[in-house]
Symmetry: C2
Subunit: 408 residues, 2 copies
């Protein structure tokens, strides 16, 4: 059994490249104010140019640039002050040859002007007359009406979660609603005769509370999905098949955390095979921890069968479940993850062809691998992050520089 | 004016070290299921040991280890099969010398046993008799009752936002409610006669929609705060002082995005000074963009006065506003940020003593700095991240390796 599993285990890189369900969530319109982290279904284009009018970038005087040519400290150019522009108002004076209009940063350039002289390069020696002591080029001190965004230009791309600055630009363009992908609904099924709901106050002999479902729900939320906790199913093939069928009907992705015994590990595969229009993509991944992982599709809904051990389940869900979830939710590129560079406190061995995920503590630039007698959840909560030993490597040497993916 | 501003500008490092408001949000109890990203106000201790009973880590047979000593392929040790443990049940048979009880992974170790032999190291040649072909040490194949978590041990520390795995461990321990810091309420005041609400369909001459408030609200949310949009105040000292006083009464942190003209930039300081029990910590930071930044306290509430330009405002809020927000919300250590290492496409100059924040695009390991004629918001939305040129440096050379903080 374990030998068979070992030899049939698929490399994680092959699974990520090959398991590409076509399922996508539908679209929905949301308020811009609620769109942080949501994924536009199509590029958002601007209906108008931004800022929409030529603006001054300095406090000074709007002029015709040609009138300033040759001006200097020794020989200033003289201008008649013919008016002032107020913020948020239409300019009430036009600039004619030899004329200047006072203007604050951000105000609209008056007609006739093609440059703004900074106030620092001017002097007022007589009421109504401005001395300019430095020439300004055409366009100097001005931001064009379409310099931030042209009409029809992309405000935000499709397939990338909206960031704070995107919401700012959408606000500037007056976009009040955004068409986004619906959050992928992720059905989370727990299995195991020993597993009881986490709110169980007093445990019976041999019972454990369901830790995995809560953590999977949180990872789902973080990745932009909507978790749907489907409860705990006993180690019973028919009960699991029924729970799976129901979840597949309701959800965009289904995750099953298996029982931990050898027999229980195979039940997810059996339940998948019991459903119509289903196929098992792989059963067994070359990853440590997490070998007994299943990837399947039921009626086009991706199903991820996770190991029973909570630590293994969470490691595998990060590595192969979240990419599936993001894909279904229309995210084209995975988001950047926090990383740190550190030196390994000691060597860690790995097997060629297997992806090893090693939890580490990072202190003062040194990464200390955390191992336990068994794969316990406290190991994951005390880790600062993890390193991935690639499939081609057979381990990491002591003192080697490694990139640690940091938990937020 | 600009010279004065320059000379009085405080280094950002000095501001971050010196501006440390004592304000903290209160505490509240939330459901574990809603606690992702929330910050425990005190360490969460476990009321019970985990897993709570000694469990098998393998499928096999519970035995007395001493009975296996000397066993080998050539000379197996023989055991009487005296029972089987089921998942989630109390063991119904005890192990006596020479006896073995069948046990699946995760089940409770029966009384009398001190080790579990893996099924792979056994054979059943006669019904009721097990041959063991390899010795097992005391404790082999067993996780202790308190090996994951001891009674009273810390499940989650104070001052660090709860992560997915923390919620898993809290679930395992049966913690249903968590005492956390209340989200800091961040009052966001926009100012400027030219600024109109973002939902304004048609702009009048010289008007711009408020982009900054939407983006600040999103940054606040991402950092665990609760934004409170306080609207747009005209460039009027009394109106701003009144809006500020109201925000200080309601909020834990107040942010004012100033008007962009020279006069407007000073209004936030004047409004702060107009309030009782207020002090200006600094007015002018040695940062580019973002020099005209104000840090103050009014009645113990930190007030951050941002530049009027949206790009500058967002850059400064990330650098100095978010640290204040996290502090007020009880976060002891800033979260890890996504970073990438890249080579600079071209040199960028900076001034010694000034922190420069340069937006960059990253492609194939090369960081290209983005500059515009003016500091436009589209520059921020098209950036993949930013680099920080430290105060001590006078620039970055072409081809230099830099760490880019990536936007998510």
């Amino acid at each position: 059994m374990s030998a068979t599993e070992f030899f049939t285990a698929l490399p994680v890189s092959a699974a990520l490249a090959g398991f590409r369900p076509l399922r996508r969530t539908g679209t929905e319109e949301v308020d811009r104010a609620a769109a942080l982290g949501r994924v536009p279904a199509a590029p958002v284009a601007s209906g108008a140019a931004l800022p929409g009018f030529a603006r001054s970038t300095v406090d000074g005087y709007a002029v015709r640039a040609a009138d300033t040519y040759g001006a200097g400290e020794a020989l200033p150019a003289y201008f008649d002050l013919v008016g002032a522009v107020r913020m948020g108002s239409a300019p009430d004076a036009a600039v004619r040859p030899g004329g200047a209009v006072q203007i604050p940063t951000g105000a609209a350039i008056p007609p006739g002007a093609d440059a703004v002289v900074m106030v620092e390069h001017t002097q007022v020696t007589m009421p109504g007359v401005i001395e300019v002591t430095r020439p300004v080029a055409v366009g100097g001190g001005i931001v064009r009406a379409d310099e931030d965004v042209a009409v029809g230009a992309e405000l935000a791309p499709a397939g990338r979660a909206l960031r704070a600055q995107d919401l700012g630009l959408l606000a500037a363009a007056g976009v009040t609603r955004v068409e986004v992908r619906a959050r992928p609904r992720v059905g989370i099924i727990s299995t195991g005769d020993e597993v009881v709901p986490p709110d169980t106050a007093d445990l019976g002999p041999g019972q454990v509370r369901d830790a995995t479902a809560s953590a999977l729900a949180a990872l789902t939320e973080e990745a932009g999905g909507a978790p749907s906790l489907r409860g705990i199913v006993p180690d019973d093939a028919e009960a699991l098949a029924a729970a799976l069928a129901a979840a597949v009907r309701d959800c965009d992705v289904v995750v099953v955390s298996a029982g931990s015994s050898v027999g229980a590990r195979d039940e997810t595969a059996a339940a998948v095979r019991a459903l119509a229009d289903s196929r098992v993509y792989c059963h067994g991944l070359a990853i440590k921890p997490g070998k007994p992982t299943l990837l399947a599709e039921c009626s086009g809904v991706p199903v991820v069968g996770l190991p029973g051990n909570p630590l293994s389940a969470l490691v595998v869900f990060r590595q192969v479940g979240l990419p599936v979830l993001r894909r279904v939710g229309g995210i084209a590129l995975p988001p950047a993850e926090p990383t740190a560079t550190a030196a390994m406190a000691r060597a860690v061995a790995s097997a060629a062809g297997r992806l090893d995920v090693v939890q580490v503590r990072v202190r003062d630039g040194v990464a200390t691998p955390l191992f336990g007698a068994s794969a316990l959840l406290s190991l994951l909560t005390s880790a600062d992050g993890y390193i991935v030993i690639p499939e081609a490597a057979t381990g990491i040497d002591e003192d080697a520089q490694v990139t640690v993916t940091m938990y937020r």
